[in-house]
């Protein structure tokens, strides 16, 4: 169990490139924190700085109140699971799992007991005598986790641990990691670019972009109250639809006027737009595909033709081309639409996200 605090942390490389820019983050005991963002956003660098594998250019890193900037990785008591597993190929599974205990000079019978215990909990008992080269991807991943678990470290760091697995195994391992977190009851920091992993595993998600933290929040809040357009677009599959609309007042009601119609806004959002002086101006609006509905022509905010209909089982994704704009709708399979058919769409006004087109920050949340 550990509390980790990052204070004004910056990572600057020799060529002047800043991979991480002045980030602040507080990770409490037993939290499952996910660092998520697109490639090159600095999430792995941040994790590696916590691990001690990268030097910190500026700022302070605290573990349980102690500044650990200059503490080498082997003295931090933090375990890490790597993207490519990093199993020692010349050692058996048993030796791989036992290695950290051997370094700590734990008595042999104690090592044996703990290795067997961990192996049993991860379903590796039959594989203890094998070498990593004889294991499948999922088995290697389990060994990598076993190697981390056996130490009872203060925190677990995981750097995209599922990205080398196929989709089915990834789903299975995700559940196992979640289960592991419940059992171990300790701090997890997990890096991924997969927002499904982020949403399903994390108790707290940190969305990063270009070395900066965009938003730190719970999965639900991140989904429902994104602070800017980037977070809104990054979290959620399929991604949020964005469109420009003019904010006007008609018949005493604040509405967003789109190319094909208008969207009357609920009171709370209307008040915020009024207060912000947005009447008569163009705003950037966003609506999640699951909050778009088919409607009559009179209610329509968008009119267009169905370009793709994807049936995913119980639900379906409909791609509608509305002029230059493509609107994606996530609906149930009964809303079957033929390719090329004309449809009218409206967003659920209470679920609309409205952003400042200049700063891209939210106006209504």
């Amino acid at each position: 169990m550990a509390e980790i605090i990052l204070k004004n942390i910056t990572k600057e490389y020799e060529n002047g490139f800043q991979a991480v820019k002045n980030i602040n983050l507080e990770i409490k005991d037993n939290e499952f924190v996910i660092l998520v963002g697109p490639s090159g956003c600095g999430k792995s660098t941040t994790l590696r700085m916590i691990a001690g594998l990268e030097d910190i250019s500026e700022g302070d890193l605290y573990l349980d109140g102690n500044r650990i900037n200059d503490v080498p990785p082997q003295n931090r008591d933090i375990a890490m699971v790597f993207q490519n597993y990093a199993l020692y190929p010349h050692m058996t599974v048993y030796q791989n799992i036992a290695y950290s205990l051997k370094i700590k000079k734990v008595p042999k019978d104690e090592i044996d007991r703990r290795v067997k215990e961990v192996a049993a909990s991860l379903g590796l008992t039959e594989l203890l005598d094998r070498r990593p080269g004889q294991l499948s991807g999922g088995q290697k991943q389990r060994v990598a986790m076993g190697r981390a678990i056996i130490r009872h470290p203060k925190a677990f760091l995981m750097d995209e641990p599922l990205s080398n697995l196929d989709a089915k195994l990834r789903g299975q391992m995700r559940v196992e990691i979640a289960d592991l977190y419940q059992r171990l009851n300790t701090t997890f920091i997990y890096v991924t670019h997969d927002q499904t992993e982020a949403m399903t595993l994390g108790t707290k998600i940190v969305v990063m972009k270009d070395g900066e933290i965009q938003q730190t929040d719970s999965p639900t809040n991140l989904f429902n109250y994104p602070v800017n357009k980037f977070v809104a677009g990054f979290i959620g599959t399929p991604a949020m639809n964005f469109f420009d609309a003019e904010c006007t007042e008609e018949d005493g009601m604040v509405v967003l006027r789109t190319a094909d119609g208008m969207i009357p806004l609920p009171e709370e959002k209307a008040a915020k737009l009024k207060e912000g002086g947005w009447l008569g101006k163009t705003v950037s609006a966003g609506i999640r595909p699951e909050h778009v509905r088919l409607c009559t022509e009179a209610e329509a905010a968008f009119k267009g033709t169905v370009s793709v209909f994807e049936l995913l089982g119980s639900n379906a994704i409909i791609y509608v081309q509305c002029g230059d704009q493509r609107i994606i709708m996530n609906t149930d399979e009964t809303d079957r639409q033929e390719h090329g058919s004309e449809v009218c769409l409206k967003p659920l006004a209470e679920k609309l996200h409205i952003f400042d087109p200049e700063t891209e920050r939210t106006i209504t949340n």
Binding site: A79, F82, Q83, A86, Y88, P89, Y99, S100, I103, R151
Partner: protein, 287 residues
Amino acid sequence: MNTRYSDKRSLPVRVLSLLGKILILGTASIFTAFPFIWMIISSLKTKAEILNTDIFLPTSPQWSNITGIIFNSPIPKYIFNSAWVSLVIVALQIVTGAMLAYALVFLKFRTNKLLFTIVMGTYMLPVAATYIPSYIILADWHMLDSFRGLIISSTVSIFGIFLLRQGFMQIPKGLVEAARMDGASHWRALWEIVCPMTKSSFITFGLMNFISTYNNYMWPSLITKTSDYFLVSQGLRAFFIRDGAYGTEWALVMAASAVVVVPLLVLFAFTQKWFINGIGGETGIKG
């Protein structure tokens, strides 16, 4: 489907090509091996037979030449000197070389590339250019004419650093990082993770440097003058010119040369797999 390579050339062309290869390789092999075979045969001849060019094989093998060298000459002592001095030198070169190669490959520091350039730069220096400064340093340390001097002056091998660095570069950095996260120091990571994975580089390096140190003549002959400290090449020369008998005991000189080579042949016989692998660039590690 049979995907094996099949030679579509006609039979006579194939036979001719094979004969050509045998001829070229056979000739090259004979040229390479002949001096060695000649040495072995001469070591079993009498003095008169050696100087008679009409006789290739000895009429009756003079085994006493060999036993005389083994039991009644200082040659075994020189072999022992060479063997243990080479062993110590190679052990030290492996430790120093592995440490520097590890630092160059796995540690991040500003002058990493500069350091490697400087190290490799020293490899370009003619060895003879280092003799005088090395001699002066050893003289200042009172280590001339001693095993200590021989060993200390050969503690680092630039070739070894280069060879090990190339081997280490095949290892994913994540493995060393994983070891560090597991609690291993750099020292442990080097010997418990990196070394077992680059075994063939280590063995190649050890063998090549053992052989070159074992056979080394110039440098040991510059810094040692007491026969107690002679290595084999020096010892052979001393044996050749002893008692002012320049070139008079050819049969014994040949027998001594043959005996001196035996330890290297035995070593090579046991390790040739690694030796050839290492030179061919095969490190035994799959990417």
